[in-house]
Symmetry: C2
Subunit: 280 residues, 2 copies
């Protein structure tokens, strides 16, 4: 049975007891509202570790003013049942005051990767992510932490943070889990109405089209991006935030698609801001 | 006999072995060039812990361009002998490449305390200090870390960092150790010529004078600071960077001296930038 705790002290006690038995710890940091993507991370964590810790925390400092902090879906009971069925040992569900007590003023940031892709549209977002994940890593002290590829930039940034700050955590990325029609699973899909939900497949379709073009020998990043943009513009009510073709390690734009290349996009549909990517 | 290691991996091995025996770890992060101030921290660490780790690292990212990074005194052999005689178990002496490998880009910062006192004269300094100490804490994972009161602002900032980032380290401050004539011990005193060395007592004299005034009932911060400034100006070749009378927790300037108040100053004498403080 999954245990639910709300304080860092209780997490430390659980972890210390697990360590005493020589157990390894897998960690899945989340904002809750679980879907199959989260569950696949928990499943892998359970396969590769003696104990699995999941955190559920909608982290206020990674949302800018006007973003969806207030309406981000919260469904703890359902989440707990789902985590339980994946063999999660501990859910850490802290309050905002537990994570950011009065006087809190320390932040982790980077100068390079957070300025790219989503970073230019969400100033301060990755600083908030790095800060909370550094805190969570220091509380849970996991051997391995699991993230989904949908948030590939977040994964790269957190891998960098872990190395740079000697956090001694192996940061891993697992494949994006998709709905049957290809839409990347995301808690933000809950914001979509029925029509918008159908339109939202255009992100995946654009990526599939890009992969086919590259497969067929097209190596001009500009031409691939233009074709993607054309496909998405055909769907009324979509607004492209970015379509970028970049080096998968540096996130620097490339002109020619060669080597490991990340094709990433962010599109607004109604109230939802959706992202997706693939590596070719 | 004190062991000397140059890699984080070796420190982690030492710490893990110590933990396995149930031992507690005291940590003294330094830039080397030891004096009695450093030794008093090691002595206390040895009294309060089963093992003592000392790091020696002149941290490039806490020096601004034009500061004394290049000429900061380095004397590893003598330092090792001195640490050995204080019962230090391990010296961590990493290279710059060990701490900041290629691609390093993660920093810890605060918005409030680092803007005060020394922070306004050394932009980026405390960001560099917080970043290296967070890294060192994550490598050494000490129970307790020891800092000198001469660097009181640094202590306050690092105590904040440890709490905010859940570093699980008790950050302690020990009294400033002074030469017989009252000069606060500092590796930067090595920069002083014989005449400057004598002049340098003016910092301590100004603080003593301030304490006497306050003791005698003076509670105007402005009048106390003015008297300190007058005393230091009498010494030719000194240049006051700041004299501040502030709340000892927030570092906010006070008008009236009441409650725990920090009186702090920074004075340049020749090539040396000297700081000192006391709490009344």
């Amino acid at each position: 049975m999954t245990r639910l705790v709300e304080t860092a002290v209780e997490v430390r006690e659980f972890v210390a007891a697990c360590r005493k038995r020589g157990g390894s710890i897998g960690f899945v940091p989340t904002m809750g509202a679980f879907h199959e993507g989260h569950l696949s991370l928990m499943r892998q964590a359970a396969r590769q570790n003696d104990a699995v810790v999941v955190s559920i925390f909608v982290n206020p400092i990674q949302f800018a003013a006007g973003e969806d902090y207030d309406r981000y879906p919260r469904r703890l009971e359902k989440d707990t049942r789902m985590a339980d069925s994946e063999g999660v040992d501990l859910i850490f569900f802290p309050s905002v005051a537990e994570m950011y007590p009065k006087g809190f003023d320390s932040y982790v940031d980077q100068t390079d990767l957070p300025s790219k892709l989503c970073g230019s549209f969400r100033p301060g977002h990755f600083r908030g992510v790095m800060t909370i994940v550094t805190k969570l890593f220091n509380i849970v002290k996991p051997d391995t932490a699991y993230f989904g590829q949908k948030d590939y930039q977040q994964y790269l940034i957190l891998r960098r943070t872990a190395v740079d700050l000697n956090l001694d955590v192996d940061v891993r990325v697992l494949p994006t889990v998709r709905e049957e029609d290809g839409l990347a699973m995301s808690s933000r899909n809950f914001y979509l109405g029925p029509k918008q939900r159908k339109d939202a497949t255009c992100l995946h379709e654009a990526l599939e089209c890009a992969a086919k073009l590259v497969d067929g020998g097209e190596n001009s990043a500009a031409r691939v991006a233009a074709e993607m943009r054309r496909l998405i513009r055909k769907v009324k009510g979509t607004r492209v935030e970015y379509i970028e073709i970049v080096n998968s390690e540096t996130l620097e734009p490339v002109k020619e698609v060669k080597g490991r290349t990340l094709i990433a996009l962010a599109v607004r549909i109604g109230k939802a801001r959706l992202i997706d990517n693939l590596i070719v």
